[in-house]
Amino acid sequence: MDNSKILRTIAQKLFPFILMFGFYLTLHGHLSPGGGFQGGVVIGTAIILLALSYGVDETEKRFKENNLSILEKLAILSFIFLGLLGIFYGYPFLRDIMPLGERGCLASAGMMVLLNIVISIKVAAGITGIFYTLVKYRGEL
């Protein structure tokens, strides 16, 4: 991976905006096409853009493989826990137990916002993990 100065500067400046776009997609999942998976992929893409321009070893010092793995597993366990919360309150699985706001507002649609956030964390960690395994370890994990 040839590290050119232009690529490194542009990637460094663009990184927070891509992250912001990923958060926008995640949080507006109930109002526009998007949701957890798409937001997570965009966040993962931001990290991959950094890795492509600075080199995988540098990026791995800041986004460690171990932490990503723990985040992934915590995220899926909390997804199951959020679903089971519905059962504890007496409703079927994955029922909305948060208050439903008005239509078109950001804080509406019950539990979907929380589920979207959890899924986006898992997907971002997953996509970056796949990238690390294929590129850094050359598939030899």
């Binding site: 597993k73 915590l74 899926i76 366990l77 059962i87 079927p92 699985f93 029922r95």
Partner: protein, 501 residues
């Protein structure tokens, strides 16, 4: 809590799987046994409820039927999930003493069991696609677990063919959804007469696509090419669960979609001809599979071709429009799951103890380990279909229904298939109980001594013992097995009776 049981049966192995790879990596075998056994006990709690003939509908998230995804447990789902969990417990028991299986293996196995039960319980046609894709991804990972050269090739092949099959399935679902507008199976079946009146070609397109895709997944003969490689090159416990239940999942979806969707209304013209097609596929499966199995010299590959033969018997049983035939087919699904898993477990122990894979190298195995050789003999008698075993009951019911419906040629084909099955299994049994070749003992004494050191212990022998015991009991008292099958028959034929001429 009783009303929430469907989702808990699916979630519990899944949660245990993620807890295993997150926290308790060392205790993974025991946690996974606890997970699957608890699921099995929760499923058994449904038994008196299902026996009355009721159906349990569970709407996820509280969203009612046309809007949301629902799970439904009726007789057919209960029967298949009972089979899946029983074979699953045996597979986990068998793989406990193997030291090469780390926490990743148990994670994949629990994920596989959980998503299979998800496919069986769901009542939403798009959900079937998602969970079936999960089943095929996890199966590919399990087949390539030891990362040998040939296993990786088989796994890649299986991935390609399975993706083509499921994309065809989704195309069929899409064409049906374009006219119906809803996705639940019972909701679409109410709209099929209207769709047929407007645009009958859409029904043809979706029926053909769904039949083809489920044919590829359940190994009907022109589309069976993935099965011998994937089932013989996988580790033994993975082969057992693949041949036992994963292949039957395609048959479950076929039954559910044919009898649930495409039969509604006055529509039995297409339905009848698709049943005739399945009968011909079944007959070709039997003849082709038996001929290929006779030509094999690798033990696990021969068992994989034997699976193709038995799927042919099941397809003939399903497609004959008769209660007896259906009973025989479903009972044969249960029997074959038990018998074939037991045979693959025996093959695994034999391969570990002798260090070789070809049949002609197993000479004298009856003397080395009489228990495993005896169980292999009894289980193969079950697959051939000899009277005190359960295989006889199910094959007899299918032959009887073929004669009742005035198609005696299919009964003759099943009997010829059983004779050829007897030929290739008796060859193996004869080699077990014959004298070892003298020259082998003189030349490679070091190999003989090393292989005598591996003694299978209680964890590996007990699943074989339990499966053989259940098979013999089901053969002597067939009403025990048929009592599990009869609620499924009631479900299917209650939807069928108003339509048949």
């Amino acid at each position: 809590m009783f009303a929430h049981l469907p989702i808990l049966i699916i979630i519990f192995p899944l949660a245990i799987a993620f807890i295993i790879i997150f926290l308790f990596k060392k205790y993974s075998p025991f946690l996974s046994i606890i997970g699957v056994t608890v699921s099995f006990i929760l499923l058994i709690r449904f038994a008196p409820f299902i026996h009355k003939g009721d159906e349990l509908l569970y709407h996820l998230g509280g969203w009612q039927s046309p809007l949301g995804i629902s799970l439904s447990i009726d007789g057919l789902s209960f029967f298949f999930s009972f089979t899946v969990l029983l074979v699953g417990i045996m597979v986990i028991l068998y793989s406990i003493p193997e030291k090469k299986y780390n926490h990743n293996y148990y994670f994949l196995l629990l994920l596989l069991l959980s998503s299979m039960i998800g496919v069986i319980f769901t009542a939403d046609i798009f959900n079937i696609y998602i969970l079936f894709e999960l089943v095929s991804i996890v199966t590919c990972l399990l087949v390539a677990y030891y990362q040998q050269r040939v296993a990786l090739r088989a796994s890649f092949n299986y991935l390609l063919i399975s993706t083509v099959a499921l994309s065809l399935f989704l195309l069929g679902v899409g064409s049906l959804y374009s006219m119906a507008g809803v996705l639940g199976i019972s909701s679409i079946s109410k709209q099929i007469p209207m769709i047929f009146a407007e645009n009958p070609k859409i029904i043809t397109v979706s029926l053909v696509l769904i039949l083809t895709s489920m044919g590829i997944k359940s190994a009907m003969v022109p589309m069976h090419g993935w099965l011998p490689d994937a089932h013989s090159l996988a580790p033994s416990s993975v082969s057992a669960i693949l041949s036992g239940v994963v292949v039957k999942l395609g048959i479950y979806c076929l039954i559910r979609l044919l009898y649930g969707l495409f039969i509604a209304g006055d529509y039995h013209g297409y339905f009848g001809s698709s049943l005739q097609l399945l009968m011909i596929f079944g007959a070709v499966n039997i003849i082709f599979g038996a001929m290929m199995a006779l030509a094999q010299d690798d033990l696990k590959r021969m068992l994989a071709y034997s699976t193709i033969v038995q799927i042919g018997v099941i397809l003939i049983g399903i497609s004959i429009n008769n209660t007896t035939g259906f009973e025989g087919a479903l009972f044969h699904i249960f029997n074959h799951a038990l018998l074939k898993s037991g045979l693959f477990f025996c093959a695994g122990i034999i391969t570990l103890q002798t260090g070789k894979r070809k049949i002609k190298d197993f000479a004298g195995y009856g003397e080395k380990n009489p228990f495993v050789a005896l169980c292999f003999t009894i289980l193969s008698l079950g697959i051939i279909g000899i009277p005190p075993m359960n295989g006889f009951v199910s094959k007899f019911l299918v032959c009887l229904s073929a004669v009742e419906e005035e198609h005696p040629v299919f009964a003759i084909i099943i009997i010829i298939g059983s004779l050829m099955t007897a030929a290739y299994f008796f060859r193996v049994i004869q080699i077990f109980y014959s004298e070892p070749i003298q020259s082998d003992k003189n030349i490679s004494t070091i190999d003989c001594e090393k292989s005598y050191l591996f003694q299978p212990r209680i964890f590996e022998l007990s699943p074989i013992f339990i499966l053989t015991g259940i098979s013999i009991i089901m053969g002597i008292i067939p009403s025990l097995g048929l009592s599990i099958v009869s609620p499924a028959i009631k479900v299917i034929f209650s939807s069928l009776l108003p339509v048949l001429p």
